[in-house]
Symmetry: D2
Subunit: 245 residues, 4 copies
């Protein structure tokens, strides 16, 4: 390897850590802010995430104002089907406590989800793995995924890696992600910023959403796409030619 | 089932076959127009696809004029690694003849691919399965996938089903897809139009691409996206703050 | 194409339609036998599937006797989040009636699901698309997927295509799959048998499961895998060295 | 978060870091040991990985003796198609130097690949993302993936996370993975061992492969699977009833 050189020196020489940049159609992703990870008094794998939740809530407000959609995830398994979680509980037996309908899979009550924010149940670390999240985002014309929640070294990081792979710009507001220990949190923020997405301040993320709001170009616009083709569609052959609802 | 009722009657009652419609940022996909499927004198699984190739070439010209990217696929396997094709050759032993570097995996010489059109090597029916095509399309802001090539009942259909799933509007110009027998070709066009994508005439597809050209809103625009956020990005923290190339 | 030659002649010449064959660790998949597709009096997209359900139930009994797991799917969308279904309702507006918690997404009461059979909610045609089904099957050592349910030309076919791609042998017992019209049903059985999986009789499928039972080699065995390595694992370094539960 | 508690204390309390354990049918994965990552004199993102290559070669020998397949990956992009790499080069411009056919995408000449070891070209960090690796492994009956190569905090880690998700037991021999700096290397080994796979010593990994060899239960056996069903398959209906080759 590097013979002990400081990682920042090594990475600068490699020119890692450039900016992926912001797109025009962001979505906000709130990862796993469920009781099992936010209530240390109830779960041994939870952390103190009050400040993370507060930051996520500020971003939720800004996203709504900008017309950007929000998606939530929780991890939950069917308690009657031990193989629902695959091999993962072999590494982390606590996963068996995250049962559908149980207390530990409910969103933390401090999190301000609206009923129209889609809640995805996932089985693995990445919010994209084994879910239809990539489809949802592409269908809606999203180009940027702001990732919040927990844990930084687990589900947030895996989600960021997949978001980039699926073609969406990952943005991680530092104050809006948390972990159960400081060291993995900081190590993963470093790796994410070096290689997969932009780690930014909460203020910068809020300013970006505010700009979108002012120019009225948030993701809501995506709904208006496709009109050129449709307006002019002359003679669509096929089973039925009903006008589109 | 339906007690023998005509499928068109049944499907109209079910209100299947509505229009998915055109988006603003199309890509053209040319599926498996390789010698192994287009040269009956060389391959027992090939069909007479001269007219299909001609139609695909017309669409390629229109797509280039509109600034829309084109992607090509071929099926090819490593002849030294029998498991490269997984279980599929058990159903179709001819797949073993599609070897990397061999004659049957070359594009038909009549197909007008440009060197800058990406050629994807795939292993299964869908152009999305086991490839990074969904990532390519989302990263480029594509919202519509025009599918051409062969075979209608095989790789074209599987590609259309996945395109819809991944969030892209599938458009199938009827003259630009072909099969090795008429019946599966027609049956799959019916199913595609009823449930997964819009089967249109070549003329309609060309007219759509011409409209895009005139309004200058083709996929090339996607390259310009993201400037709002970037222009204003104030203080990106992280490993390195170099200006984006 | 083929200049009008019969598809069977063309396909025999191409040597399509070989056998994928049975493996030793099957799973039974029951696709979309929900009220919305099985109760014509309630849903315009439903078909008369009583015989299909009876066949699926016979296979369920045989699978349980052989120790093979069963997985069920339904299509259901969040009624509060219109984009949960992506672009698909543009083709089939009836999909909007398949709402989480609604009557049309309940399994048909004639279907004999056990509480320990995992029920997957899917959003698209294939049972693998946007779900963790491939992970479930691989983690359990499954090598064969017997596909039942509806519709043959829709979700059954898409599931078969993906099953083969993900490395599982697709087996389709003819009497246990159905569609809303005969023609697409037969056309897809032909295509599936020619290219993606083995279409077999219900009796053959039952006989296969009975053989597995007698030799005690059903998927249940998979649970016993891994003991060689584990028994001898000497000194696992890492965070914790607790013996595996 | 944890108020500064040591991560080992926090993780032990959470009972993270249990053993995923070994299966019976391993595959060896050699990730990205290409010149661009192993020759610091040629590439600013490379590290000194001679010891890692030596360890990987020892594992390759042991895997071959045990009949376990080996798969190799390299990252390579089409230099004529800038969007082949999607958004990733925005974070790491060096990725643009990894061009198909170029020197930096060749395997390091010290790596002992056999021509029959499949070489996968990937576009993103995980060896599973946008490739057919999961299909290859499932089709062959693999249950365990031993991951070697580089970089620990990048492609190795992402591959391990996906391997677990897809249902394969990830095993990481510590001496056979490397990175361009020590700190990310150690941080990712900690996270992997805590949450996704077993980090073991090279000697333990070699001993596991040697045991498999002695009991003759390596992955090669998988080729023999399926005979129960096939031997007895009575009357397979369909297009063609040819005996399986």
């Amino acid at each position: 390897m590097s013979g002990g050189a400081d990682k920042r020196t090594v990475y600068e020489r490699a020119r890692l850590g450039e900016r992926v940049g912001y797109g025009e159609h962001p979505a906000l992703l709130v990862v796993d802010l469920q009781v099992g990870f936010t209530a240390p008094e109830l779960s041994p794998v939870a952390g103190e995430l009050g400040a993370v939740i507060a930051a996520a809530n500020r971003l939720l407000g800004a996203a709504r104002a900008a017309g950007a959609p929000a998606y939530f995830t929780v991890i939950a398994y069917d308690p009657q089907c031990p193989d629902d979680a695959g091999l993962w509980p072999r590494k982390g037996p606590y996963l068996r406590t995250l049962t559908v309908g149980g207390d530990l899979v409910r969103l933390d009550p401090r999190v301000e989800r609206h009923p129209s924010d889609l809640l995805l149940v996932k089985k693995y670390a990445s919010a994209f793995f084994g879910t239809h999240l990539a489809a949802l985002l592409a269908a809606r014309g999203i180009d940027t995924v702001m990732v919040t929640g927990c844990t930084t070294s687990g589900c947030v990081r895996a989600t960021v890696v997949d978001a980039l792979g699926y073609g969406f710009r990952p943005i991680v507001p530092r104050e809006a992600v948390g972990d159960r220990a400081d060291e993995p949190h900081e190590a993963s923020l470093f790796d994410i910023d070096a290689k997969y997405g932009d780690v930014v301040s909460l203020e910068e993320a809020l300013a970006y959403l505010a700009r979108l709001r002012s120019v009225g170009r948030a993701a809501g616009d995506a709904a208006a796409r496709g009109r050129v083709g449709e307006a002019a569609a002359p003679t669509a052959p096929g089973v039925k030619r009903a006008s589109k609802s």
